[in-house]
Symmetry: C2
Subunit: 273 residues, 2 copies
């Protein structure tokens, strides 16, 4: 039985491969995150997806590349990945979607849509934007219906002040102050297109969009803006923290459960045609 060569980041699919884009939703609780890791007893979303693809192709090795390597406990409603199936495996879009979903049962991970794409299309390198939502449940009582899907903050937050402070992070900046020490990106410079904070009843919702984010960047911005919302930080301090280019100047990392990858943008969007 021949095996498809594993895809490397940036590679176009070799001719022996039929590339599929998948739009995914998952509940990040109970997973070590997107990325497959050495420890075999821990489940990753990637491992689950690739194992399902292996089952669907009767044991062939299928590798995936994703647009956003979400951390443990982080959710997705609009994650995108591509899968390289052996070219002799011919399946319909509905069969790829339903077959992967069948083999990923009963885990809370599903493929919403599957579409064949051209060999040059790459879930990670063709992506021109990522959108994340961070949700805070801002009330006295802990969450019951949304447990594991929100950050519970008891102290009343001023979302308007948070929004004002957030605007100093929009644009092209060195985000060293909001970057995890483990971040492997070559440059700490990123360009934030949008960072909106709004109140929706008991919730404070942060919407962030950029071409790409640094490791923990959204959670570090959320943890910092929460200090502003509580009144423990003056709004101006966010701009000062950014200018310091020092992780110790930024606020703490907000917990993963409030974060959700809501969408990935492409010039050639395989799910919009």
């Amino acid at each position: 039985m021949s095996e498809a060569p594993p895809a490397r980041p940036g590679d176009a699919a070799p001719p022996s491969v039929c590339r599929w884009a998948v739009l995914m939703e998952y509940d990040g609780r109970g997973f070590i995150g997107w990325q497959r890791q050495q420890a075999e007893h821990l489940t990753s979303i990637q491992g689950l997806l690739e194992d399902a693809a292996k089952n669907l192709t009767a044991g062939r090795i299928v590798r995936s590349i994703t647009a956003g390597r979400t951390d443990a406990g982080v959710h997705a409603s609009g994650q995108v990945a591509h899968l390289d199936f052996p070219a002799d495996v011919t399946l319909s879009s509905a069969t790829v979607r339903d077959g992967l979903n069948f083999y990923m049962k009963p885990h809370p991970v599903v493929v919403l849509m599957a579409r064949p794409v051209l060999p040059h299309w790459n879930a990670r390198f063709s992506a021109c934007s990522r959108a994340y939502r961070y949700r805070i449940l801002n009330r006295a009582a802990r969450p019951a219906l949304e447990e594991g899907h929100v950050w519970h903050v008891r102290a009343p937050l001023d979302a308007d002040v948070m929004h004002t402070a957030a605007q100093s992070l929009v644009g092209r900046h060195d985000f060293t102050s909001f970057r995890a020490s483990a971040c492997q990106a070559r440059s700490p410079v990123r360009s934030i297109d949008r960072l909106d904070v709004r109140r929706e009843g008991e919730y404070v919702v942060i919407e962030a969009q950029a071409r790409s984010f640094l490791h923990h960047q959204v959670r570090n911005m959320a943890g910092t803006l929460k200090l502003v919302g509580e009144g423990r930080w003056a709004p101006e301090r966010v701009e000062q923290a950014l200018a310091a280019r020092d992780r110790r100047a930024g606020g703490p990392t907000a917990p993963p459960e409030g974060l959700c990858l809501t969408g990935v943008g492409y010039e050639e969007n395989p799910f919009h045609r």
Copy 2:
């Protein structure tokens, strides 16, 4: 140690008792429903609440009455109950809320607000309306983020046709065709104030409001309207099913996980003052 006498439905609180109204949110999965039952190894919301109240009052017996005895697996975002604490137990609203929440940990059941009420106020008998929401996730892929909180229906539903058909159920009718065989209400006549069906993206949302509902009435209406939405029933058949006054003429019971008690209305609303 003296015990407060158990409250009976319709009773005003005796003078030895201080009555509290509580607004509650819960995830109904893993519970046998609101009502305390004989089998001690199964957890009910009522049992959890009353046990928490017992802990909060150092072992005194505290009884509760609720506005809506939700079934196993049914959720609530706006349930209301009252608790009769011994009159010598004096606690602040914040202490009742936080104390009950502390003792109900880690179960997904919380008190959102607690308010002292006058002895004649009764969570069940003072209620003038109940509002329920039934949510259907209408797409090919099973739910990942909303698993246990929606009814998954793959076949495309026409929400507009469902809404039109639903209007024949609005008003005062004999709802025998939509009533559980186990229903213990004396009369099958109920008056539905509102039964709206609308599409919200991948969701079809049914909103129902009435002074009170029969056992399984909302789920039986939802299961019937789903047949209309799929095109398996002509919309007129809902009116014919109602007129038949025969449970066998109605559609099947929709599963509990899509249902949520969203609110209870009172002329004297203890949470609005």
